[in-house]
């Protein structure tokens, strides 16, 4: 009797110990996860934070290293928009907005049909078309720039908006098509089916049933398209003029009062202006954006 009780107690003690070890291990694993999370947060956010802090720092304290904002001023933002040193940042913002909007709209309007066909219809050469569109999105910009440079020089388009918009479409359109294709494949197409049973043609079913449902997907695709156009630098750096240059070019060539001194604080202010709207947009639509970004890679 006593022997069996003691055996039972021992067993219970053993189990308790086992549970404690497991709990400790769990806690330790959880702790490590948190440490890793903090490292990731620091690695991703610290440089961006440094840009914002510097943007608000007096130019005389450019290289100040205190973590918190010191010598706070808004002068850098004024300098960023100042045109007296040959910078055109304000104009560049408008240019980027204009180019990005046109490129996004054109790509969406053209791409939505292709995405529908690829996601929804059965036809020959589907994979060839898909391969062609994917190949196009992987295309090196430099392979386009040389002939376009010569062509636009010959027809007098250098420095015009259309010279910047047309090449942008070459990489935004494929991105638009394959992001939307992935989104479209996820949609409740039974509804289209019911609409057709109710007597709609395929076109009507698309317009009246599918389009409203597809709106969020199209909106997300629009954000991704706009961002990639907004970030474009290579083509714009070669084909734009002072009057039509987008913000990326304006920031890259930002000049200060002294030719040999890089006006870091003003550049950081300009960078902050360019970045903050994007970051807000991306954070607000985070889930959708991530879904759109990764749509191509997994399914």
């Amino acid at each position: 009797m006593t022997a069996s009780t003691s055996a039972a107690t021992e067993l219970r003690a053993e189990q308790d110990r086992g549970r404690k070890v497991a709990q400790n291990r769990e806690k330790w694993a959880q702790g490590r996860t948190y440490i890793s999370a903090v490292v990731i947060l620091f690695w991703c956010l610290a440089p961006a934070y440094w840009m914002v802090v510097t943007a608000f720092r007096d130019v005389g304290y450019t290289y100040d290293t205190s973590i918190l904002p010191t010598h706070v001023t808004l002068d850098n933002f004024k300098t960023a928009f100042d045109t007296s040193f040959g910078n055109h940042f304000g104009q560049a913002l408008l240019n980027s907005l204009f180019i990005g909007t046109v490129v996004t709209l054109v790509s969406l309007v053209i791409g939505v049909f292709a995405a529908y066909a690829l996601a929804r219809l059965n036809f020959k050469f589907k994979y060839l078309v898909l391969g062609f569109i994917l190949g196009a999105s992987m295309f090196p910009g430099v392979a386009l720039i040389t002939p376009l440079f010569q062509l636009f020089t010959n027809i007098g388009w250098m420095g015009t908006y259309q010279a910047l918009i047309i090449p942008n479409i070459s990489f935004v359109l494929p991105l638009t098509v394959y992001t939307m294709t992935s989104f479209f494949r996820e949609m409740p197409w039974e509804l289209e089916e019911s609409a057709r049973v109710d007597g709609c043609t395929q076109g009507q079913a698309f317009r009246k049933v599918i389009m409203p449902l597809a709106a969020p997907a199209i909106f997300t695709t629009a954000i991704l398209a706009f961002i990639s156009s907004w970030n474009e630098f290579l083509i714009a750096s070669q084909l734009s003029s002072d009057a039509t240059q987008p913000v990326t070019v304006a920031i890259a060539s930002f000049a200060g009062a002294q030719p040999n001194q890089i006006p870091y604080t003003a550049i950081m202010a300009a960078g902050t202006i360019v970045t903050i709207p994007l970051v807000i947009l991306v954070l607000v639509f985070q889930r959708k954006i991530v879904a759109g970004l990764t749509a191509g890679a997994v399914k």
Binding site: M51, T248, L293
Partner: protein
């Protein structure tokens, strides 16, 4: 999943759950396919047309140009060169780093000229590609594994990784230029006095660090999406069977995440091979950070046709790398993307 398309083997695409039609196989089905084919042709026409104008036409023009001589004064020798057909001489000149000589032949390009930089630019491009993609894969995998775990504040981390991704590369380059400035925070933080953009290896590492910072999130999100496709039961079962954490990672996670991982690596590799913005703004291509893309851009104003030859070479290199990935490493992008093939 949509099924394969062919004249005979036809099954309804059931991507959204319900098949598009219920007609039995037969003549009606073939008609349906023909109708769908016509529809598809109309719907795809604008995209195909637009891409033909903005991509196919320039490419063909570039190839035609690359077989033409550049007319004008040769910048290296100061001699006037007539235009006209050039055969493969533009390609030859790049690959063997030859420049026109006074006697009409060619000589080795003098050091410092663009013509003498082909192989160093190719080496730099591949060096950047291999190092950044390797670092991004390892770091991205680690980030993805962390983000896949359940812990408080996970959504904060997932949001934070989007910040570097959302910042335009031109801004990223200027930001890191500032961090790597001689008096900048980089040197102060590590108590070093490195002239980061002043000599070869620091300049290269500056580009690599900035690129890894900017693009690892993209990699991490793609891998995370792949990780989330793995059902939790698989891990539970393996745990019950006594598999260690390392075994679970090697035998379950890696093979199951491999398709997504390969696509992520392919995307990043092709992107890194055309790297331009970052080194162009950060180092100006100085100190052996000139990539092939930068070399093309520098060449444009010295001669369109030679630049066209170089951009065609760049294109071929990227195409070959993509081919190797798809053919030998099993990165099946088309199947992974868009209208995936129904394998199940």
């Amino acid at each position: 999943m949509a099924t394969e398309v062919g004249p005979t083997s036809v099954k309804a695409p059931a991507s959204g759950g319900a098949p598009i039609h219920h007609a039995p196989k037969g003549v009606g089905e073939d008609n349906r396919i023909a109708t769908q084919g016509r529809w598809a042709a109309w719907l795809l026409a604008p995209t195909i047309l637009a891409l033909s104008v903005v991509i196919v036409y320039p490419i063909i023009t570039a190839i035609v140009m690359s077989f033409q001589k550049d007319a004008g004064l040769d910048p290296a020798t100061g001699l006037f060169v007539e235009g006209g057909p050039a055969g493969f001489s533009n390609y030859y000149n790049w690959i063997f780093q030859q420049c026109p000589a006074p006697d009409g032949g060619t000589v080795d390009c003098p050091p410092g000229t663009l013509g003498a930089q082909f192989w160093s630019a190719t080496g730099t491009t591949f060096f950047f590609t291999i190092v950044t993609v390797a670092l991004e894969t390892v770091l991205g995998f680690w980030m993805a594994v962390i983000m896949a775990r359940a812990f408080k504040g996970r959504s904060l981390v997932r949001a934070a990784v989007l910040v570097p991704w959302a910042i335009p590369t031109a801004v990223t380059a200027k930001l890191w230029l500032f961090i790597f400035a001689f008096e900048g925070i980089g040197n102060k933080l590590f108590n070093t006095t490195v002239l980061w953009t002043g000599s070869e290896w620091p300049a290269r590492w500056a580009v690599i660090i900035a690129d890894v910072w900017k693009t690892t999130p993209f990699m991490a999100l793609l891998i995370l999406a792949g990780l989330q496709m793995i059902p939790a039961e698989v891990y539970e079962a393996a745990k019950v069977d006594g598999a260690s954490a390392w075994q679970r990672f090697r035998m379950i996670t890696l093979p199951l995440v491999k398709p997504a991982l390969m696509v992520a690596i392919l995307f990043r590799t092709l992107d890194a091979l055309r790297m331009f913005d970052l080194p162009y703004i950060l180092t100006g291509g100085a100190n052996n950070t000139t990539t092939l893309s930068i070399l093309v851009i520098n060449q444009i104003r010295q001669g369109f046709n030679a630049a066209a030859a170089l951009s065609t070479i760049t294109f071929i290199i990227i195409f070959l790398v993509a081919f190797i990935f798809v053919r030998f490493l099993g990165a099946n992008v088309v199947e992974q993307t868009g209208a995936g093939k129904g394998k199940k």
